[in-house]
Symmetry: C2
Subunit: 418 residues, 2 copies
């Protein structure tokens, strides 16, 4: 990911060395408070390993810049006399996440604690619309979410775009289901958003594959607990994927790893928008699923909700459609597990509500075809994604992560527009 | 990987702290000399960032323990007056690698510089033979290689086993083509080797998947140069695979990553020894290839050499067999590239001699099915493995890497049996 505008100060400014150390220590303190939820200065000192005096000075600066807040409570921890309780601020600096998918745009504002504070989802068909128009629409939705955030005294200082395709250096190389090829996304979105917010500071914008950001959301906010190595699948119009290895996204040589939707299921299967044939997406993507279930009318979220309703009611055609998709999913997942050996596989997007029927259908293939014999037919190694984790939240949280890494870079901006 | 006997000293010995720092510095100096090939003490000082006095003391100890040698040459580098040239010792401490595969055992002794100094390959059928007998045979071959090494004044101080299966904590969980399941390999091999070398110190033995070690050999000794993220395939009776990410083996959650031979090509294809059906191995493994070419008589290396000869002569059936295997290989590789996004794919084992015909057959599938469009039909992103890199050499070099990481642990042993 790349920032359209670097948020750091002038690299030629004097005392860069001492300034760098202080910025790093501010980040250490801020993250210590965030991780602890509630903590005293003495507690921070014990965690971070700096003197009480140094911590006090750093905390003062973070309080003044609005990153921390002090509660009236006092708290007697293990280290020293009772002290005032520190928390990360629940107002002020925040992150903006914008997922632009094929049939919806989802916008999320996340505060410094990682809490999802504003959510705005609009269902619309982005296929066949010029990319510039889609980005402009998304900026409009983002501007409305920013207005809601302002009502809560939240002021996002950066944005991340989640896009269903191969994203590298701010450019969408290919997003077959959107029909995008070599589309520059960050700068036009930033410009459109700036035009909608005259007088307010521009937001630096970064972009990333949506499955990658959904996987990070699962890692940060989901129910995985100690699991740090997993494969994440997200079913939408396309089927996206992401690999997380020891808590880090596996990006590959060009940043394009995780494209499980285009693994071949049947070499002579239906043509895929990617130019190949018989890709998983042609069997387990949203359109294929709805078509197989005879749901040609309702599309998008409405169609998936109807499919889930029918499956719950025991509708034979719906159950066969999901079962067929689950079988193909299991076959491709078995290969992916043989290659990558994840601890668990997480099913997100439309697979989450359909998991009660998809998981059993995929389980047999996994049990038979995973060579380690480590994939028993029962258990929770194939599981639905957490409700609280999606790509828009992952995108917003990615911005918050940037803030926590170098608060001063955003604190200055906070001062400008406070 | 795990050592059957830890090579480090008594953890309760006094001055552990200072001792640890010195051990670390000895390793820094030894690796600096190895990387530089030829270097003076001043050069080492400049590279490592320790004082000349400290470097001299460390170099003395490494010379006395036989890890370094001094040449008569003097060399005027950038730092200070001309000095004597240091090199890693080409005699004494070395590593032993033993690849036990389905139809051969290959043993290799590598010196501290990484040079392959002894090689002994015996072709024999290890299928249907009890694991204890196979391990005993392999120990006999290793003992003969050790005798050859002694002729060159080389004294391996540790051994690594390369095994065609899922290896974890010294146990082969599954090696379908050997017919092994839950076989403890390290201890019986170590015991058999010790019995053949009475009076000599026991060698600590570790074990690892053979494709992983072949991939490391390619990384360390092959022609990849700056490529640090690649997928390695090795065609034998089975088809093994390894993923290298930024110069490190990707092991997955249980150490079983890279099993590309058991990715499904055709869900209803021939039964595979792993319990699944239609695995890549059933189309592109050695037996399948020879059978498709009508080579039912000659097996193993003889059969592959005959297949290569016939392909070179333009024999239609041989070319069709290799072309068919290449097509299936390309299909599975396209999926693996979509998932992992390697910079290159390396074909080792029997695929190396067959690459002139396999690569063009696989290229079309890769060009069509890799979603990034980053896999052009021509180019060298799919390439044969280097001749100098194989699993036995990787295994021996893995031992040398251990020595370089903590020379003192092996230096003591060197003293015991010098």
């Amino acid at each position: 990911m790349r920032l359209t505008r670097p948020p750091t100060g002038d690299p030629l400014e004097p005392k860069a060395g001492r300034d760098t150390v202080r910025r790093h220590n501010l980040s250490l303190v801020l993250r210590a408070v965030r991780d602890a939820v509630e903590i005293t200065r003495a507690g921070v000192s014990a965690r971070v390993g700096l003197t009480r005096a140094a911590i006090s000075s750093l905390v003062e600066q973070l309080l003044e810049s609005g990153f921390l807040s002090e509660s009236g409570k006092t708290f007697s921890g293990q280290a020293g006399r009772p002290g005032t309780v520190l928390k990360v601020a629940r107002t002020g600096v925040a992150g903006l996440g914008v997922e632009i998918n094929v049939d919806y745009v989802s916008v999320c504002v996340v505060d410094l604690a990682g809490t999802d504070r504003v959510r705005l989802v609009e269902h619309l068909d982005n296929r066949g619309t010029p990319p510039a128009v889609v980005l402009h629409r998304a900026a409009g939705i983002a501007a409305r979410a920013l207005a809601s955030a302002a009502e809560q005294d939240l002021r996002p200082v950066g944005a991340a775009l989640a896009l269903p395709g191969l994203v590298s250096s701010g450019t969408v190389r290919e997003a077959p289901n959107l029909g995008w090829s070599r589309v520059v996304a960050e700068a036009p979105f930033a410009a459109a958003l700036a035009a909608l917010r005259p007088g307010l500071p521009d937001l630096p914008v970064r972009s990333e594959n949506e499955a990658n950001l959904a996987a990070l959301a699962e890692l940060w906010f989901g129910d995985l607990r100690s699991v740090r190595t997993f494969l994440y699948l997200t079913g939408e119009i396309g089927v996206g994927g992401a690999l997380v290895l020891d808590g880090e996204l596996l990006r590959g040589a060009h940043g394009f790893a995780g494209e499980i939707g285009h693994v071949v299921v049947a070499s002579d299967g239906p043509d895929c928008r990617c130019g190949s044939r018989g890709c998983l997406e042609q069997y387990a993507g949203q359109s294929a699923l709805l078509r197989a279930a005879g749901l040609d009318g309702p599309t998008g979220a409405t169609g998936v909700a109807e499919l889930e309703r029918r499956a719950r009611a025991g509708d034979d055609r719906a159950l066969r459609a999901i079962g067929g998709a689950g079988l193909m999913l299991g076959r491709v997942l078995a290969g992916a597990v043989n290659l990558f050996d994840p601890a668990v596989v997480v099913l997100g997007g439309i697979y989450r509500p359909l998991a009660p029927w998809l998981v059993p259908a995929a389980a047999g293939e996994l049990a038979t075809r995973v060579v380690s014999g480590l994939w028993p037919e029962t258990g929770d190694r194939l599981r639905p994604a957490s409700a609280a984790a999606d790509a828009a939240r992952g995108a917003a949280a990615r911005v918050v992560q940037d803030i926590l890494t170098d608060p001063l870079a955003y604190g200055t901006r906070a001062g400008q527009c406070g």
